[in-house]
């Protein structure tokens, strides 16, 4: 959920359907040659940052193109802010900032020129486009280098320009297709921080399409997992992780003894490498754990709240195919 600014009534222009940013019903897309990209997909996306998870070919890009009104669904319907994607794509596109997965930047212009032009194409008047281009580039951290030709940029900088051109038109929703593609770990972290800021501080709803489950988890409020064009699971991150909070306990020695002791006291610890994972029911669990460690005089070296990664959760619920994509 968006905190701070809250759900802006202005963005949805009066026909806001109870906060749902995206809604699809029985959405089906069949390509020539009987390739089914989407197969009766029904999903509702709330404001905030939503991870759209799926393997390559799961239908993520097809869904994005339908949402942009660039592709007609074979069956079913999709809407963004309550506006029908098929009938009124033009209006929807004034509200969406789209960052494609592939390279989409001309090498022989400066970032400022390019983002300004894209701002014009989003419907900004000339002066506003210039101002917002400078601002967008500043937000993505390219203030100093903005007068350099894009061709001289690193992959990470190019990804930032792609993000800036999606941001320049002040969209209400951003569709980001694999934004961390081709980035090194540090670059991924920085890109995810940026997306997280856009979703929380800027108050813009974001859909991040990715096949990397673990990466997305950190910044998303919601997860929508699709596979073979169908909805696999949609839920909030907190409901995923909240249901299975774990305490991670590490002791320098006597791990087995501690496990036995905890089991004797009614907990069900699970061993994971050199640590124990203890399901956290309520605050009483902490007390039981403390007493057990104290009674055994076990050399406790670490006690922390451990969140399951999304992957593990999917694996727990028999969603191995998606998880294995990594």
């Amino acid at each position: 959920m968006t905190t701070g600014p809250g759900p802006q009534g202005g963005g949805s222009g009066g026909d806001g359907t109870e906060g749902a940013v995206i809604e699809t019903q029985a959405l089906t897309k069949r390509y020539p040659g009987d390739v089914i990209a989407l197969d009766g997909l029904a999903v509702s996306v709330a404001p905030g940052i939503t991870g759209l998870i799926g393997a390559n070919g799961a239908g993520k890009s097809t869904l994005i193109k339908i949402l942009l009104g660039l592709l007609e669904p074979t069956k079913g319907r999709a809407s963004v802010f309550g506006i029908d994607c098929e009938k009124d794509g033009e209006r929807i596109r004034t509200l969406i900032g789209y960052m494609p997965e592939h390279d989409c930047l001309p090498p022989d212009v400066t970032a400022t020129e390019f983002v300004t032009h894209m701002g014009r194409m989003s419907g900004l008047p000339a002066t506003a486009a210039k101002e917002r281009a400078a601002e967008s580039l500043r937000h993505v951290g390219l203030h100093e280098e903005r007068y350099r030709l894009i061709g001289t940029y690193s992959t990470g900088m190019k990804q930032r320009v792609k993000l800036a051109q999606a941001l320049v038109g002040d969209p209400r929703l951003m569709l980001l297709d694999e934004p961390t593609n081709g980035l090194d770990p540090a670059g991924r972290g920085a890109m995810l921080d940026l997306i997280s800021r856009i979703g929380t501080e800027f108050g813009i709803s974001v859909v991040v399409a990715s096949h990397l489950l673990g990466e997305i988890e950190r910044i998303c409020d919601h997860i929508v997992a699709i596979e073979a064009g169908r909805l696999l699971r949609a839920d909030t991150i907190t409901s995923f992780t909240g249901a299975s909070r774990m305490l991670r306990v590490e002791v320098d020695e006597g791990l087995a003894a501690l496990a036995d002791e905890l089991a004797r006291r009614g907990l069900s610890p699970r061993r994971q490498q050199r640590a124990l994972l203890v399901p956290l029911a309520d605050d009483a669990t902490y007390d039981v754990l403390r007493d057990a460690v104290a009674d055994l005089r076990a050399p406790l070296s670490r006690l922390e709240l451990s969140r399951h990664s999304v992957e593990e959760l999917f694996r727990d619920s028999d969603l191995t195919e998606v998880a294995d994509v990594r």
Partner: protein, 315 residues
């Protein structure tokens, strides 16, 4: 900095990003689709002459403009010094126009369309509030306008230079000649830019696009000229309009330039055929064939552009 006191948002102050002024929504007016097309048109028109691009991008357009305007200026100066106007308004200097236009469109049409295809920037356009056909439409109008400048600018210079002189032969005949010439120039630009853009849009590789456009225009032009000469063998320098054989009259249809030149002669009523000045005789009773060819070439070019951009948008 007073940033942390002013901003209640804990995330910002906690991270200590002092130069961050936060995100500001855009509350100003937004342009509609037509104004966006106009913005793209203006942007593309400028880039056809290398304006807003690097110095290198300006070299060819400048050479083209200078080359095509030079005879007009020279002739205007000559008229002022007592000479006569040897360059006509109808199709200006045909051979020069063919060469300069071919080189210009071969180099600049890829600048218009191949760059965007190559860098795969089209999805960014199509994800904005415009329709599928708007992009090629804006590009076409922009490029046609650029070609009009190239074709009609020398006529205007010639006109201004001529009427400024006392020996001009009167303002009215010159004005009439100029207006006819400008209209014919527009006809040239409409067709040549359409063909060039359609051919250039077939490939994202700029060098190939230039090659395809240049070869198409030159090859058809030379073929047309050869056939025209074969059909008209054994004739003298000055041929009366009645004795031109059908093959020679129809040979112009092979080349867009000669099709245009045939139409030019037909419209402007130049009945006398000087084989040295332009390869095509007045089409005479075959004029409808020239009109049909003009329409077919234009329609085919538009069809190629439409198909090309219907596909490119989704890919």
């Amino acid at each position: 900095m007073s940033a942390d006191s002013a901003l209640t948002d804990g995330a910002i102050s906690a991270r200590g990003v002092i130069h961050d002024r936060g995100y500001r929504r855009y509350e100003g007016p937004r342009l509609g689709r037509v104004q966006i097309i106009r913005a793209l048109l203006w942007h593309s028109f400028r880039s056809a002459f290398g304006i807003g691009r690097g110095a290198k991008a300006k070299i060819l357009p400048v050479i083209a403009v200078v080359a095509i305007c030079l005879p007009a200026i020279i002739n205007a100066v000559a008229v002022a010094n007592g000479g006569s106007q040897v360059v006509g308004y109808e199709s200006y200097l045909f051979a020069l126009r063919v060469i300069v236009l071919t080189v210009f469109v071969a180099v600049q049409a890829p600048e218009m369309v191949s760059r965007d295809l190559r860098s795969r920037v089209l999805p960014l356009y199509f994800s904005r509030p415009m329709r599928r056909g708007d992009y090629p439409l804006a590009k076409y109008l922009a490029f046609t306008a650029a070609c009009v400048i190239l074709v009609d600018l020398p006529l205007v210079l010639l006109y201004l230079g001529t009427i400024a002189s006392s020996k001009s032969g009167g303002i009215w005949p010159n004005t009439r000649g100029l207006l006819g010439g400008l209209a014919i120039g527009l006809m040239w630009a409409v067709l040549v830019s359409a063909i060039a853009l359609a051919l250039a849009s077939l490939t994202g590789r700029r060098a190939y696009a230039t090659g395809v456009v240049a070869i198409f225009f030159f090859l058809t032009f030379i073929l047309s000229q050869i056939i025209q000469q074969i059909a008209g063998q054994g004739r003298g320098q000055f041929i009366s309009p009645q004795t031109v054989p059908a093959g020679q009259r129809l040979a112009g249809l092979i080349s867009p330039f000669n099709t245009l030149q045939g139409l030019t002669k037909w419209f402007s009523g130049v009945r006398v055929f000087h084989p040295g000045e332009g390869p095509v005789p007045d089409p005479g009773s075959y004029a409808p064939a020239y009109i049909v060819m003009f329409v077919v070439l234009l329609a085919a070019s538009f069809a190629i552009l439409a198909v090309r951009y219907r596909k490119a948008g989704v890919a």
